[in-house]
Symmetry: C2
Subunit: 350 residues, 2 copies
């Protein structure tokens, strides 16, 4: 992402043995970076969503392992580190995938070589993630360009979750893209983060509440829906930020293409039926009952927005069945959301 | 509604020539009543949503006419008063209906008799509204009781908008009803008002974000969806709080009954196709960009939750096509959502 003209990654290692992140809980009101020094810093960054989005969670976990190995690189410590990080978010499969990869790379090494190998691998995974994101952007932009060819004038998309790569690419390619940014309650990642990022890139956009998506689609104001995914099943079911399923229903009812930006690290080939087999993370009530924002004098304040006595449930994700998905935009191209197509595209993962 | 054991209406005339309301913009943090003394007070109460919900808007408008006639009861002033009130909310048909009714009652009278007639009519309309609400509750509770007979254990409903009458009746009748209260962004009427009301009545409920409805329905956690309506067309299309359509799609996809609490004053027999013929009110960006709540020291603070440079659109309503509506719960019973059934139920309105 670009901030005031400077390119920024969301995680980077500015000097040996430490990691910096953009603290996404402070946006859009404050642009602050945070240094992760210990394993616990990394675990907290994931659990408290200072980092968010499935791929970034995986990379942060890889750096977290490296931070944890500083003191002791024994098998027992490596196990403990992985267990700590694994427990931070139950739904995102990238986290599990990243930890499995790090562990299988480090375990065969003698403990004395594990620390530097962990740092190298984390940096490699960060680079790979950027490359995958770029590839998804390239495949996604051809999709957007095709729709633009059929429809003159501005092209409106809905973004839901970490699915902005194709949109940035389309904007850079000069396509007249306009993004309706859903607020994405709770935590408001859309209103707080996506809108902030799009604004810094100069991409035309409009914030709407999550409830508005159906109305926009009914009235021909949306040409394409692109969403992210935290876990994709072998048959193409998509587990993403809660509310994604409702947008998929509206896209189907109005004949609008519904695509998912799905890095292959999000695909969990061990499971098929997302509705039955994915554990949906429940997060704290505080994310629903309270809201943070900027006061008129420029301070940051948190306010309670619900009655203190009313109970709350806070599901972080829902599952969109594959039948609603027009296609998965992966780093290897656009893949149909079914078991055969996914197996053919990623045969080495079976 | 009951507040600390005392029954309260949302609008009442405590003494001649003045009107009190519960200021719904202050809930759930403050229970405050507000006195309406002038026409402008009434117009502001409607426009700023100190009163909300289609029937209450109509009654407030009727009282607003009475307040406006205090100084001068000429034809010209009556026209001007009605125009002022009519402009406050374009979508809710109860407002138009209430004003038409008041005007057709007052116009034939000599100006000297209009003021007292206006007060009498407003009070009558408030009483009628309470009776209609009661009747809708009675018809709705038979619906809930029928579902309860087929399903042992707790009965979960989703409430969207001003559709609580059947739920209160079911609770009072001893049915084991549990309500998932949607937050209903923007303005958060669900989290702020419905939850507060249910809590004061002792009805078991859980607040969820608007995005959660689909997930709850996919997982068998909802037995019935009941929503309100601000305008119902002659063929049964339902214009209600933005986001209602998305819940209707989820109810259909999961085979869950979707009912609409529809007082006949919400039915606009002049229009058929809600998607084409209803003007959807767009409200101020502030409702999306800012959020009010209680600070940790008990004060009320408003904070900005979006980037200052991001544009916003704020549609207040959407339209749910009749094909998604299982039935309309009216004061005359449950009516199918189609032109024939509505015409048969309300022949005098054609």
């Amino acid at each position: 992402m670009r901030v005031d003209g400077r390119p920024f990654r969301t995680i980077w290692s500015p000097e040996p043995e430490c990691v910096d992140i953009i603290d996404q809980t402070r946006l859009p009101h404050r642009f602050e970076t945070r240094r992760l020094v210990t394993l616990q810093d990394a675990a907290t960054a994931i659990a408290d969503m200072q980092v968010r989005g499935a791929p970034l969670i995986g990379v942060t976990a890889a750096y977290g392992v490296a931070l944890g190995l500083k003191r002791d690189a024994s098998d027992a410590t490596l196990d403990e580190i992985c267990a700590t990080l694994r427990a931070t978010r139950p739904t995102a499969v990238n986290l599990q995938w990243a930890l499995d990869r790090v562990r299988s790379r480090l375990t065969p090494l003698p403990p004395s070589r594990r620390l530097s190998a962990a740092w190298d691998l984390a940096a490699l995974m960060a680079d790979e993630d950027a490359a995958i994101c770029e590839a998804i952007g390239d495949h996604g932009v051809s999709l957007i360009a095709e729709i633009a060819r059929r429809k003159p004038g501005q092209l409106a998309t809905v973004d839901w979750g970490t699915a902005t790569a194709p949109i940035y690419k389309a904007h850079e390619a000069g396509l007249p893209v306009h993004v309706f940014v859903d607020e994405t309650r709770p935590r408001n990642q859309g209103a707080a983060l996506t809108a902030w990022e799009l604004g810094h890139h100069g991409v035309p956009h409009t914030i709407v509440v999550d409830n508005a998506g159906g109305h926009l689609m009914q009235h021909g104001m949306v040409d394409l829906v692109i969403v992210g995914t935290d876990r994709t099943t072998a048959q193409g079911d998509v587990c993403n930020k809660i509310g994604t399923y409702l947008k998929a229903l509206a896209a189907r009812d109005n004949g609008i293409p519904f695509y998912v930006a799905a890095p292959s690290s999000s695909i969990d080939f061990r499971i098929r039926n997302g509705l039955d087999e994915i554990e949906i993370e429940q997060r704290g009530a505080h994310e629903v009952t309270h809201m943070s924002g900027e006061t008129s004098d420029g301070g940051i304040e948190t306010v309670r927005i619900t009655p203190a006595s009313s109970p709350v449930m806070n599901f972080a994700f829902d599952v969109t069945p594959a039948r609603f998905v027009s296609g998965l935009v992966t780093e290897r191209g656009i893949v149909a959301a079914n078991a055969e197509a996914l197996a053919a595209a990623f045969p080495e993962r079976l």
